[in-house]
């Protein structure tokens, strides 16, 4: 395996070039843990739907994770297949390179993917498998891109894995293809993974504004479109800063300007669309965007009114593992929901700075993971609801706290104007469901005053 260039990673880890910025934070031993770098790399690359994704390692990494992502496809589904070399003791002792080679050959022959991504894992990295060489040899022989992704779990957090996946794209994919002539050149989206179909809402908006979505990196992507990402006029880094390094490198290599934005909340959405048109340097398009955003915003304002009335002043604790926290805060603010606690254990300092710019002074930061810590904040701040991911969802249920899932298990799209309306409805729904009242009241025979029906 190629050595991990630690100094370089630290320099722009999780996006920042400033030496003072802390890199992707290290997990603390003895706590309920989040995902690893392998998981992070898969989050970034699995949405390339027509590619095959082969996990080189023991059963753990693929066996416990395949098929369970919330990233949606409008066509091919090969990326949902769980391909693994399922290394056993013999593989560990004698090496798994032969098995890997045969597996690559089998996938190429039987599934005919446009490309194969091969992931290293803790084990194959530790036993020193030369994955790069196997992939290179196979690629040459098969005439097919076979891309090594060196992001074993132990190198660190999910964020770092996102970034290492970005590096793999830069090194092996971007710049290897050309778009068909005649296609208007437009914008790449970096770090939007089409969870619950959000990318399709964004795409709809971009279409209405006449902005071409060039390469989706990587929500609902096809391998080929990423090969020509270098021809885009603008890169937008969506929410997570993990792929900022990719945007920066594409700027220096290909001269593509980038900006960071989000589609959570009307203000952010409008800003993002305007920024696209501005960077595309197209006056007509800017006017078109202005018309679109004004129309959408005023319609949204109208439709949101009843929900804002209900949500105004409600207090929420937000725990999304970091990358999304600042952008979701904006959306919640627009709905009148006050964020009284926010998880930062996986956020970079840049993210924390952004969060700080969006929340009030008395908002509590939750630096360490663990359900009890989140619950404590909910109780201390008398929050009305909790917004988090699947691993904390059931704790909220035990505590009878209304809950909205914001991570990959969810089935509703919250991006864009219509997404904000859906989020408003979802929050209202979570608060208004009679189950919370039922859950919070003791059985009638334990009630001191007769139950008021």
């Amino acid at each position: 395996m190629e050595p991990i260039r630690k100094d370089e990673l630290d320099a722009h880890a999780c996006g920042s070039l400033s030496p003072k910025t802390k890199p992707c934070p290290r997990p603390k031993p003895g706590e309920a843990a989040g995902g690893c770098s392998f998981d992070g790399a898969q989050i970034t690359l699995l949405p390339i739907m027509d590619a095959a994704h082969l996990v080189h390692g023991p059963i753990a990494c693929a066996g416990n994770s395949w098929e369970s992502r919330g990233t949606l496809s409008s066509g091919p589904s090969l990326s949902q297949y769980g391909f693994t070399t399922d290394l056993n003791d013999t593989g560990i002792i004698f090496g798994g390179e032969k098995k890997l080679k045969e597996s690559i050959d089998y996938i190429a022959g039987r599934f005919a993917p446009p490309a194969i991504f091969v992931y290293s894992t803790c084990v194959t990295a530790l036993i020193g498998e030369d994955m790069d060489a196997v992939c290179k040899e196979a690629a040459g022989r098969l005439g097919l891109p076979v891309i090594p992704v060196n992001s074993p779990g132990f190198v660190g957090s999910k964020n770092l894995g996102n970034r290492l996946a970005g590096e793999a794209l830069l090194q092996y994919v971007i710049g290897t293809g050309e778009p068909e002539s005649g296609i208007p050149l437009g914008v790449n989206l970096l770090g939007e993974y089409n969870i619950a179909g959000e990318l399709w809402d964004i795409e709809k908006l971009m279409n209405s504004a006449g902005i071409t979505l060039m390469s989706r990196i990587t929500g609902d992507a096809r391998y080929k479109e990423i090969t020509w990402a270098h021809r885009a006029k603008v890169n937008m880094v969506v929410c997570s800063r993990a792929l900022l390094g990719l945007a920066k490198e594409m700027e220096s290599r290909y001269g593509i300007p980038y900006f960071e934005g989000s589609f959570y909340g009307a203000k952010e959405t409008t800003y993002s669309l305007r920024q696209m048109a501005f960077l595309l340097n197209d006056r007509e398009m800017e006017r078109c965007v202005d018309r679109l955003t004004e129309r959408e915003e005023s319609r949204l304002l109208q439709e949101l009114r009843p929900y804002r009335k209900l949500l105004k002043g409600k207090k929420a604790v937000l725990y999304t593992g970091g990358v999304k926290s600042w952008s979701v805060i904006s959306a919640l603010k627009e709905l009148g929901v006050q964020v009284v606690g926010v998880g930062t254990n996986k956020s970079t300092e840049d993210d924390v700075r952004r969060i700080a710019g969006r929340v009030g002074d008395d908002t509590e930061y939750i630096p360490d993971g663990g359900a009890s810590r989140i619950i404590k904040t909910v109780r201390d701040r008398k929050a009305d609801l909790m917004i988090a991911g699947g691993r904390n969802m059931y704790v909220a249920m035990k505590e009878q706290i209304p809950f909205v899932d914001i991570n990959q298990e969810r089935h509703r799209a919250y991006a864009g104007y219509e997404g904000l309306l859906r989020l408003a409805k979802e929050l209202t729904y979570a608060l208004a469901n009679p189950i919370w009242k039922l859950a919070a009241s003791p059985p009638p025979w334990d009630q001191e005053v007769p139950h008021d029906r």
Partner: protein, 514 residues
């Protein structure tokens, strides 16, 4: 708020609407797709006999695995004991996967921590992480026991858990009083059931050794005729309830060695307490006084049973999942033999009722061809259920079964004419199963949620049984074992068959009475 306004389109409905359909169509040309003809040809080829042969000739690659890894099982074993914190030594991502996996199945929180090893750990060994991790987690979660298992990473670099844990005690990171059983659970050998076994054995032997108690089978000091019961890697919390019911009917004392039903089926009281239920730690060494130990899984707890039979010198009986009448009869006989008590009349009566239900439904089950996938003990139970009811097992795929398992299932199949058409595959995956389902069609597929894609490709209804079930709610809260379990499984299967008849009805046969 008016009710109608709260209808929120989710991705199932929203993206099926016109604007999105058009958008997808419009985009297609730019996505370098294969032509429709090519796609159709490839799909047809993937369903051919030739393809099936090529698929079965596959040796190196696993496609769509149907097993999880050892530490996932170890985590479940740990959660079977009172106030026990599962601690997984290795890189952190593994623990996150296990927690997600178990939470998605049980719809419950899964408490577990990781020592979160990174490159430093890879280079210098994981001792510092383990010691810090133990200290932090004990301070945070105040467990009565910490059960340490390992991921591949710690195993590959050869971390010496025993030495590390005793160093942690010497350094004062944890107290002498805190039991810290550990198990080596590399995921590059075995599967989740191997890991369950390793951790269970370690917990039992550690608590027994620490107690200083001397095993004396049948002495039952203060505990009467005590029987030990092991359910094993048990995805059904309802099965614990069913066993409790059966044992209450026998009216005898017993100890569950490993009971995670509390942690995976706790009430919403308004206060999350991190630990729920579980076998009392004090009860574990006392279990060495019992008359014998009965396990409802045998392939899943081999080493544990060996330990109990050897060190505790107890009579051990290892069954496989008692699913259906015959297997439940055997369970009750085993309890009766081990305790010397007669089978209670109420259970005999329950048996009669369930037999009655089976006879009501049998015309719809007779001759139904079934494909099965799952863990070894579950499969044996399901095959027995099929043979009981006149269904014909056809394809039996077990990713984590061994040759002994294969022989046992084959012998079981040979005992009935309904088993004549079956083939047992061990070490195969769900992509093999897809070829089987398409090549030799069946009426029903039985297995975990992961089977839903192959079943859909083959156009076969899926009966969700086993682990993991992610896409249906609360099935695990209903027992699968015992007479009640037989009734539950029967109800699911027969109604799936009847549902199919309604779906295919063309008019004259849309019967009201079936």
């Amino acid at each position: 708020m008016k009710k109608d306004k709260l209808v929120i389109p989710d991705h199932n409905t929203l993206f099926a609407t016109d604007p999105y359909v058009k958008q997808r169509e419009g985009k297609k040309a730019f996505e370098a797709p294969c032509s429709e003809q090519e796609t159709a040809e490839a799909l047809a080829y993937s369903k051919s006999a030739e393809y099936k042969d090529k698929n079965f000739a596959r040796t190196s690659l696993v496609v769509n695995p149907h097993k999880a890894c050892q530490p996932l099982g170890a985590l479940m074993a740990a959660l079977g004991f009172e106030m026990t914190l599962p601690f997984i030594h290795g890189s952190q991502g593994c623990t996150a996967y296990f927690r997600s996996h178990l939470s998605r199945h049980f719809k419950e929180p899964t408490p577990a921590v990781s020592s979160s090893m990174t490159e430093d750990g890879a280079v210098f060994g994981g001792m510092a992480n383990l010691i810090d991790g133990l200290e932090n987690s004990v301070a945070l979660y105040k467990p009565a026991m910490v059960a340490v298992s390992t991921t591949c990473m710690a195993e590959v670099i050869g971390d010496d858990l025993q030495a590390f844990i005793s160093n942690a005690r010497q350094k004062g990171a944890i107290s002498e009083e805190l039991p810290v059983p550990y198990a080596n659970t590399p995921s590059f050998s075995g599967s989740h059931i191997t890991g369950y076994d390793a951790m269970l054995k370690s917990i039992i032997s550690t608590l027994y050794t620490r107690s200083g108690i001397e095993a004396a089978p049948g002495s039952g000091e203060g505990t009467g005729e005590k029987l030990n019961i092991i359910l094993g890697f048990e995805p059904y919390t309802g099965n614990f309830a069913e066993m409790r019911k059966i044992m209450a009917a026998f009216d005898t004392a017993y100890t569950f060695l490993g009971d995670h039903s509390g942690n995976f089926d706790s009430p919403a009281t308004g206060e999350y307490s991190y630990y729920y239920g579980g076998t009392k730690l004090d009860d574990v060494p006392k279990a060495a006084y019992a008359l014998g130990t009965l396990s409802l899984q045998k392939y899943a707890v081999k080493k544990t049973l060996e330990y109990i039979g050897g060190t505790w010198r107890q009579q051990t009986v290892g069954l496989s999942a008692p699913i259906g009448i015959t297997a439940t009869d055997r369970l009750l006989e085993a309890i009766s033999e081990l305790t010397g008590l007669p089978v209670p009349a109420e259970l005999t009566e329950e048996r009669g009722r369930v037999v009655d239900a089976l006879t009501d439904s049998h015309p719809y089950l007779h001759g139904k061809r079934v494909a099965l996938v799952g863990d070894p003990d579950l499969l044996i139970g399901l095959v027995q259920f099929c043979l009981d009811t006149g269904m014909e097992p056809v394809h039996i795929v077990c990713s984590n079964g061994d040759n002994g398992f294969k022989e046992e299932v084959e012998a079981l199949l040979a005992s009935s004419p309904f088993g004549a058409g079956a083939t047992v595959y061990i070490g195969n995956d769900l992509w093999h199963m897809r070829s089987l389902l398409i090549g030799e069609p069946v009426d029903l597929a039985v297995g975990s949620s992961h089977l839903k894609f192959a079943a859909k490709d083959a156009g076969v209804p899926l009966i969700r049984v086993g682990f993991p079930v992610f896409d249906r709610h609360h099935l695990h809260r209903y027992p699968l074992i015992g007479y009640q379990g037989a009734l539950n499984l029967l109800t699911t299967i027969v109604n799936t068959v009847l549902e199919g008849l309604d779906e295919q009805a063309s008019g004259f046969n849309h019967d009201l009475v079936r």
